[in-house]
Symmetry: C2
Subunit: 475 residues, 2 copies
């Protein structure tokens, strides 16, 4: 006789019943190489959209559309209104395109021939994002079956784009063109992960991003460093001196106004971060492949990645870079810079502050120009006390044997803040990717059991969100 | 009736008499494209050596040899002992190879079809160095004719190499192999210039040089700057910070021990530099093609070029340098560095000091390596009070209507210090190149009248040096 330590929920039971057929269908989807970055695979991206649309229709969504007016790569839209007229309108966001599978020789199994081995699903897209977005299919079925409903407890919209791995170049146009359909009370993003497979957690922040190129122009011609060196400004020297002034000795960013809008973690968030089972030594020597952790004084490694903004030099070049030496004072020097933003930092204000800083520290005798890339990504800041955040965490906790759910902040950047702003709605994350999934790398994989947990969390989520209600979400 | 303001010397008269034939012969020599850097022209370098050897034989040198045991590109050696057994032994150094004539479409006249137009000789090598070394042919004839001697007033050795424009890769071997023939009391280098055509001057210093590559290694793989940025050392940031520490705010070099051996100009030298008709604005906007003069505080532009050592960054690279942005923390960053040395600075000691400095300022978490190029060039320091220096200046003054001769220091580097050291003899410069000669560029040219002045200076030089005598030179 065995002792059940946890009660089995109805949702869990229905997920379990549907799991085999669902996994089979997911694997069919993974066979479609929907690589948006490669024009040769654009027909596959269209086929992938069609596959998902068919599945959603069969699942019961009364409205399913292909949105392809802004791009050749279609987004899938599906809507299933709740019978409860005043239900919360939720838009689920994710994507059906995948990263390229470059270097197929480095894959243990062919990237587009998915298979399950020892409980692990292998294949491109298994985690990012087909696996995670497909959780909504089985999750919704289990939600309906467990609650005995014939429609979801929320007005449910699926918005699954096909260009995310190419930088979502048309998402602004989609959001504008379909503002009516996407007029949500809440956005749920299923394109992020958990701290690890044993630690249920939800993302409560993603960093924003602005990118540009700093150019220092010195002499108009390469000069002989014997005849001129020491007597005219060297643009490389000046570039290095300018770049060295971005951070102080303690690696705080010195740019006036840069930290405006940074939201420091609350005590609760700091406690949640401290509770994460983070092994810094393993991180440094493993995924970071570095000799040491280093960064802004007064903050932990996890804070530096998730809670703090950065100024990063991604590339630098100028002068002679071939073999041996060439005795020149070169004409130009360049650096590529990106700034990661957090909290309520504003990309436009950051660009202005950085441009003014470089102008202020530019030495006489050289021309200093900062050329920004258009656009930029706003940071996403999730209020951990918001009822929707709490509801999402509760749904995940129920799927993970009522374990406490921790909060994490991701260092990367995505279009989520823009989604939230365009829809005028708060946003929460529900995803079960983990660091070991090797997304964007060879041998992408995910634990099948984790996907089933995600399906179960989805099934609970609509009930939890419905309990909060529109007034609670809008509070 | 005209008034002669300057008496015409016998030397000048004999230069004038021989000038037409001499110019014709020089132009024949300039037709030989003796480009040492281009293997296709190596037969021409050999032909150029043969041409010079024939001329020197006809001039009367009893010993003329081709030295080609160390390289396929021959040096020309010629020796004419003085009848005065105890005469000073002088070695004249120069080169018969020339710079490439790349970009022939940018030449007004074909580079190897020399011609005289409005008193200006056009053609590759007209100045550097065929024109300047050929002055010794007519100068010597005039010396003999004016003094009525049948041998020079000094034991005269010509040592004209064929690889100078390729960095003199075999000169050390030549100096060692022929130490007996080159056992001189004095070296005269005719491969430099004057302040300008109206300002007779001699070079009394050339800067030394050491070159190397600074390498900063960070993570072992390019990291995603979203997931890792701010929490691991960025090698470009660290490189910029290290490079920014080479100079202080006043652009003094901060490397401990770096200034050891620097010889500051004497009051006489400072006065000579101040007397040079230097137009800084014209220099900045003209040859320097810059927006401002800038350099070490407390020193003038001419001092910064000639009298002061430098640390120059000639190239820099690392990370992503293509179009757009790539959000990485890169693995590596590199910089090419050269240090110009003056006075008695020692290349080996400088290398040690710089290496130790970089090791001392290297931050934790990155690997910092300085890789030096072998060799290096010692600075050449000429004592302006040395009797040989004074004699050389007097010879030049006599050729320039007894104008005062100023002293200049060149910022560039050459093998002169090595010559002087290998022969254990002091060294002086006698050359009439000017900044407008466009050596190493298209449209190389020189004023014919200036070459004749140079011939006359040579004719005076042997008399002046003989007057100083071996004891005076060795003082």
């Amino acid at each position: 006789m065995t002792v059940e330590t946890h009660s089995t929920s109805e949702e869990q039971r229905h997920v379990s019943e549907g799991s085999a057929a669902w996994l089979e269908e997911l694997m069919q989807w993974l066979r479609i190489p929907s690589v948006s970055a490669d024009p040769a695979h654009h027909p596959d991206v269209a086929a992938s959209a069609q596959f998902l649309a068919d599945v959603l229709r069969r699942t019961g969504f009364p409205t399913v559309q292909m949105w392809e007016e802004t791009s050749a790569l279609p987004a899938v839209y599906a809507h299933w209104p709740s019978d409860d007229k005043d239900a919360v309108h939720v838009v689920v966001y994710g994507h059906h395109d995948v990263q390229p599978a470059d270097g197929e020789e480095r894959w243990t199994y062919p990237p587009f021939e998915p298979r399950v081995i020892d409980g692990v699903l292998h294949g491109r897209g298994a985690s990012d994002d087909k696996g995670n977005i497909f959780m909504h299919v089985l999750g919704l079925k289990a939600h309906l079956a467990a609650t005995g409903r014939t429609s979801p407890a929320v007005h449910l919209t699926m918005f699954v784009e096909g260009e995310e791995e190419s930088g979502s170049p048309h998402i602004s146009e989609l959001l504008t063109a379909h503002a009516a359909e996407l007029n949500a009370d809440l956005v749920v993003v299923s394109d992020t992960g958990m701290f690890n497979a044993q630690t249920p957690s939800v993302c409560v922040g993603m960093r924003g991003l602005v990118a540009g190129e700093l150019h220092v122009h010195g002499p108009d011609i390469d000069l002989h460093s014997g005849s001129f060196g020491g007597a005219v400004p060297n643009p490389i020297t000046e570039l290095a001196r300018i770049l060295s002034r971005i951070h102080d000795e303690d690696r705080h960013i010195t740019i006036p106004g840069f930290y405006d809008g940074v939201v420091e973690p609350t005590e609760q968030e700091a406690a949640a971060t401290a509770a994460l089972p983070f092994d810094e030594h393993a991180w440094v020597t493993g995924p970071a492949a570095s000799r040491a952790a280093a960064g802004e004084g007064g903050w932990s490694t996890l804070d530096r990645i998730g809670a703090r903004p950065t100024a990063e030099i991604n590339g630098i070049w100028g002068g002679y870079t071939g073999p041996g030496s060439r005795t020149i004072v070169p004409t130009d020097a360049f650096a590529k810079l990106t700034f990661r933003l957090v909290g309520k930092q504003n990309p436009e204000q950051i660009r202005t502050a950085v441009t003014e800083f470089f102008a202020a520290v530019a030495p006489a005798g050289v021309e200093v120009t900062m050329n920004w890339e258009a656009g930029g990504v706003r940071p996403l800041y999730v209020d951990t006390t918001h009822p929707a955040t709490v509801a999402g965490a509760r749904a995940l906790s129920r799927a993970f044997d009522n374990q406490p759910v921790l909060f994490t902040r991701e260092g990367g950047s995505g279009p989520e803040a823009e989604l939230s702003e365009a829809m005028g709605a708060p946003l929460i994350f529900l995803g079960v990717m983990t660091d070991s999934d090797q997304i964007h790398a060879p041998n992408e994989n995910t634990e099948v059991a984790l996907l089933f947990r995600g399906c179960e969390a989805v099934a609970h989520l609509w009930t939890e969100i419905a309990a909060v209600g529109r007034a609670g979400i809008a509070r």
